[in-house]
Amino acid sequence: MTPRKHEVESLSGAYALHALDNDETRLFEAHLAESEETRNEVTELTDTAVLLGMAIDPVAPPASLKLGIMAQLASTPQLPREEAGRVQDPIHPSSFNGKAAAKAQARWFSKPLTALASIAAAVILVVGGGVIVNSVNDNSFQQAQANQLAAIGSANDTQRVDTAIGSGGSATLMWSQELGTSAFIAEGLQELASGKTYELWYIGSDGPRAAGTFNIDKNGNAWRVLDGELQSGDVIGVTIEPSGGSESPTTAPVVSIQSA
């Protein structure tokens, strides 16, 4: 064993802890490709590092994060499977850079998205573990809503306010001032009598402006990207209205949320 080789091998701990800089990482990975012994050691030390991670208290991310991620799946291509027998990077099976990825992307985009996949993506959106089927069953509407939601979630200026609903449940408003769009997400809303619907309103200095209706699923969950444009400082309110919605609110808001 040359001293130099020995020196590279000594990096296994730092490598497993992601403590190397880029140059050293490349150097070490070149060595890994040649040494089964070091590969085994790195496997074990990587698994050991994961145990350090398992000792950290889990923290549930906010429900809106999941919604944003789910909404992006439809527009996020998956890498094609590796061809059999092809050797892949032994350490970062997940790495998504470079020529192979570019090739993979090109291959993916040459295939048309199946209609089924995009419809499923639009219909299935999830809050806190519950599947939500939006009240409007038009698929192109669903798709547009999902796309808008994804855009809000990935905007540079996404903001969010979470609030409890007086009559039970919780609500989130996500918005992007830059895009002028906002989305309302609720969990645990009260079930309505037949002939009634929930309606969203922008409440600004000129009074309320209708922003669309929605119904809840069987778990009381719902989400909707608001019609119209969010003005700076608008309060977003939800009222219970006759089916089809009203031109101006006829009841007091169940919940209202102040946007910035």
Partner: protein
């Protein structure tokens, strides 16, 4: 992450619950690789508190932690086709990815870097006072704490700074005022000691 990792080495759940939960995470990941969004949703519910908790430990900042968590889950979605169960458990694959992404963010964010340096090293040992912890997490806490107690002071500080703080070995060297070569060695022999104490085998 390599082909030698066995199922016994599974880390996705506590020692009692382990196998069933892990098998199902693996199954879910297989389905995700086929574009199954419901499976992705379920996998997210299983593992996102682990991922978010880990990332938040390194980044501290809530909104940055959310961003990185989103990156991780989109990477899972994109690359599930490349996950090979023969190379390790699903949770290992995911948490390794999450740690790498969090470290990348720490390094690219000067503001969080400065903040981390100010906080100093004592902040990076795992804490055990969270009321929300489950029995499973407490068991992992105790195992890791006990294993950590077998390290030398320098090994423990170096490993903690690197893993829980996302510091590079040169930053660890600066913080601990020891030569970089010493840090490399301590990170390696510290991790080997932890591996042995925690019973990780390939």
């Amino acid at each position: 992450m390599l082909e030698t990792m066995s199922q016994e080495n599974d880390v996705s759940a506590g020692p009692n619950a382990g196998r069933a939960a892990a098998a199902s995470q693996q199954d879910l990941l297989e389905r995700v690789a086929n574009g199954d969004q419901l499976a992705f949703s379920e996998l997210y519910d299983h593992i996102s508190p682990r991922v978010f908790g880990l990332i938040k430990r390194l980044l501290r900042d809530h909104s940055q932690s959310e961003e990185v968590t989103q990156e991780v889950f989109l990477e899972i979605w994109q690359t599930a086709t490349r996950f090979d169960p023969n190379k390790g458990a699903a949770a290992t694959w995911i948490l390794t990815m999450a740690h790498r992404r969090a470290v990348d963010r720490v390094r690219s964010s000067q503001s969080s870097r400065n903040r981390d340096t100010r906080i100093g090293i004592r902040d990076y040992s795992p804490d055990y006072d969270n009321v929300a912890e489950t029995i499973e997490v407490r068991i992992e806490h105790e195992r890791v704490e006990k294993a950590m107690s077998r390290l030398t002071e320098l090994q423990r500080q170096a490993v903690s700074l690197a893993y829980y703080g996302g510091f590079s070995h040169s930053e660890v060297a600066a913080q601990l005022s020891v030569p970089i070569g010493t840090v490399k060695t301590r990170l390696r022999d510290g991790m080997i000691r932890l591996r042995d104490e925690l019973g990780v085998t390939s």
